[in-house]
Amino acid sequence: MPETNGHNGQPPAGGANSGGDGNGGGGKLANVIAGAKAVHAKAHEELKETLKAPEKTDVWKSVLRVKHDETPRSRALGVLSNVFLHLHPAKINRDAVAYKYTWGMGGMTFYVYITLVFTGTLLMFYYHPSKVVAFRDILYLENDVPFGKLLRNMHRWGAHLMVIMVELHMFRVFLTGSYKKPREFNWVVGVLLLVLTLLLSFTGYLLPDDQLGFWAVTVGTNMARATPLLGHAGPFGPQLGMTPFNDVRFGLLGGSIVDSNALLRAYIWHCVAIPIIASLFMIVHFWRVRKDGGISGPAPVQLEREMKEPRKL
């Protein structure tokens, strides 16, 4: 063990400052006090300097890396080089974000998604995905957990809102023709995100384990029986050897009935797998908005007062 704390059989040296050594008695104490005062004064001085110009401290420089000036270049770099903001373009056309044109639906959908991830994670602290206690946990959240009712309802209404907003976003993109070249690929990614949103909604439906969710999932997964080739009641399913115990519905439910396996599977799809897949597609979706030339919009408008006098030769 390294002997760094002075425990080597002698009493520890008595000074905070390293200068006071071996003067003995009152002199030693005075040394200590003087040293402490010096440290205090120095700290006071540094604090004043920090408050006066925080951007000059090492902590500031370490976190923000570079100096930021009020110049267009510096402001653009501030967005470009920021991990949270770099998804946004450094500069956009003023008309491209006109709410009457974009409705802001894509951004709001993402905001609602973030809210759902946050409230959903909090709900996970009280919810057990088990047939015995799942519904009890919902009642517990509703009636006893502090702010549990608020959280659950934020999650529930947020989920409804997200589906509505995704559809309105899609409607806007369709109406403005924003799916056209060069944005065809991003339209397809958007359709996948719509499907993932609906799957998130559907898997979350079963989790309260109430009558509504239970029968909704019974009905929903029974439709999978009729899947062509992969369902035991679908076209060519029986010919391929599909039974209620090996078809696609069985794989979704983890059994032949909606039971504890189905609840656990819905929980994992809902809380882990689909959010990760959806997040990956969102990253691609946002990135492609920029790569395809930014938010689509009407031709840029130049105001008369912003026009420069034509240069005379």
Partner: protein, 149 residues
């Protein structure tokens, strides 16, 4: 390259197979429900919660209806005052013998295999079902579909 793709492919198949468990912990599909003399004429719903079946006796005998709507699998309600089964999900209606007459149900509800045990009790086997698909022959008269007692 082929080895990498092969490995990934096999791993993907293993991943898919993982979702299909071998052993299930689901309710029993074979059980006894008592003696024929326990059941009077009409629909008996006392096994609905335990086994999801109704026991019906008519002039021909005793048979067991599996309480699964043939539309999308909800459990219909027996409405004694209306003398019919009514599904709460999408409104399919069935007569007391489980024959559909309204709503989206495509065919009558399936019936379970029934036979008399040596001890005289009715043994039910839900894994062995009899159905009457639309436009096809009814299996409801097959041996085992009804106890003629």
């Amino acid at each position: 390259m082929a080895a990498v793709l092969g490995t990934l492919g096999v791993n993907f198949l293993m991943f898919l197979r993982f979702f299909f468990p071998r052993a299930l912990y689901e309710p029993k599909t074979q059980f006894k429900i008592g003696y024929p003399s326990d059941f009077g004429f009409g629909v008996d719903t006392k096994f609905q919660n335990a086994h999801r079946i109704w026991v019906v006796r008519n002039t021909e005998g005793i048979f067991v209806i599996i309480a699964i709507c043939t539309h999308l699998g909800c459990t219909p309600d027996w409405k004694p005052s209306e003398n019919r089964f009514k599904c709460p999900c999408h409104g399919s209606g069935y007569d007391p013998e489980g024959i559909n007459f309204e709503g989206p149900a495509p065919r009558p509800m399936d019936r379970a295999h029934v036979e008399l045990d040596p001890d005289g009790q009715i043994a039910v086997d839900m894994s062995h079902a009899y159905s009457w698909p639309k436009g096809e022959r009814s299996q409801f008269g097959d041996p085992g579909a009804i106890l003629r007692v």
